[in-house]
């Protein structure tokens, strides 16, 4: 309802359109992307809750102690942590307008991410080969859903990373590409935050139990 009435001298009501003043392109992208990350955080929270409830229901199947190899998890964790710091270096070189170095750090980040996914997939195949499939017990269903969802996010991040490298290669470090790289930076660091929860609550507390 338009009620903005301001009678002028003639007595006729004047209506105003309450229009927002224009914002530059990408003005609200980082806040919007942050809110997406927060909603993604809720997805992971629900998966963590499911794992917390079902994590001890082994159905006479293998327990975390029989399945998890902590040295391998430690290597995987360091891969993700290293990819986080190399992405940070990519952002720093981007701020200094060094296109070639930005591309190099992005490529290194991608390799660390690829190593993470590779190790995780080999762990999964090893577990499935031993009969610890998602169908085996509620614990394993919750485990594969939670860790698999995280791995899927990292894989999507890798595809996004390659896409942005092609973008930067074709168009350089233009404003739009900087914005996209900043969004991927938030996404990538966010996945590392989620992984802190995974290695603590799933792997370390699982082996401790």
């Amino acid at each position: 309802m338009t009620v903005a009435v301001n009678p002028s001298q003639t007595g006729e009501p004047v209506f105003y359109l309450a229009d927002e003043h224009p914002h530059p392109e990408g003005y609200s992208t980082s806040l919007g992307f942050w809110i997406y990350l927060m909603s993604d955080c809720l997805i992971f929270a629900m998966l963590f809750a499911a794992f917390g409830v079902l994590g001890a229901n082994y159905a006479a199947g293998p327990a975390p102690k029989d399945l998890f190899e902590l040295p391998l998890v430690a290597v995987n964790t360091s891969m993700l942590l290293l990819s986080s710091i190399t992405y940070g270096f990519a952002m720093l070189t981007m701020q200094q307008n060094k296109t070639a170095q930005t591309q190099m750090w992005l490529a290194i980040t991608g390799l660390f991410g690829l190593a993470f996914i590779g190790i995780e997939l080999s762990e999964f195949t090893h577990m499935i080969y031993e009969g610890a499939t998602p169908q085996r017990s509620a614990f394993l269903s919750a485990f594969f859903t939670l860790v698999g969802t995280h791995g899927l996010h990292v894989s999507c991040g890798l595809i996004w990373l390659v896409t942005l490298m092609v973008q930067v290669w074709k168009f350089g470090l233009i404003e739009a590409n900087r914005r996209r790289l900043m969004c991927l930076s938030m996404f990538w660091h966010f996945l590392d935050v989620v992984w802190i929860g995974v290695f603590t609550f799933v792997y370390l507390l699982g082996v401790l139990r």
Binding site: A74, S84, L92, I196
Partner: protein, 126 residues
């Protein structure tokens, strides 16, 4: 820019546009802290240095919380000022939701487990 506040927060690089950027030293500091905060929990569990499992569990959970805060500050550049405080509002809302969902689920399901008798025990009572 106010020189007083700048001097007080020497490593704070918040621009007026609301976008925060890190520097080489803040990234390296965050990375070093993360390495330490990751290595200690792994070492605690793998060596069994602490006598009680319960204490170990509490300690590694505390380490995880600290490391999440470290990542938020040094990698995600969270500050109460970024995006005029809106990203902090979104974060606080999400944390409240996560705490309610996690603690609620665990509490309710634990109650169910301890108060409800499993099916096979029920049939055995007849």
């Amino acid at each position: 820019m106010n020189t007083d506040t700048h001097a007080a927060h020497a490593d704070d690089h918040h621009h007026d546009d609301g976008h925060a950027h890190g520097t080489f030293s803040t990234y390296m500091l965050g990375f070093a802290l993360s390495v330490v905060l990751t290595a200690i929990p792994f070492w605690l569990v793998m060596s069994g240095a602490l006598p009680s499992k319960q204490i170990t569990a509490l300690v590694i959970m505390a380490f995880a919380v600290v490391q999440i805060v470290v990542h938020m500050i040094y990698f995600l550049h969270m500050s109460p000022k970024s995006e005029n405080g809106w990203s902090m509002m979104a974060l606080i809302f999400t944390i409240v939701m996560v705490v309610i969902a996690l603690s609620g689920s665990l509490w309710v399901m634990n109650h169910l487990n301890s108060n409800m008798m499993p099916m096979h025990e029920m049939t055995g009572m007849k």
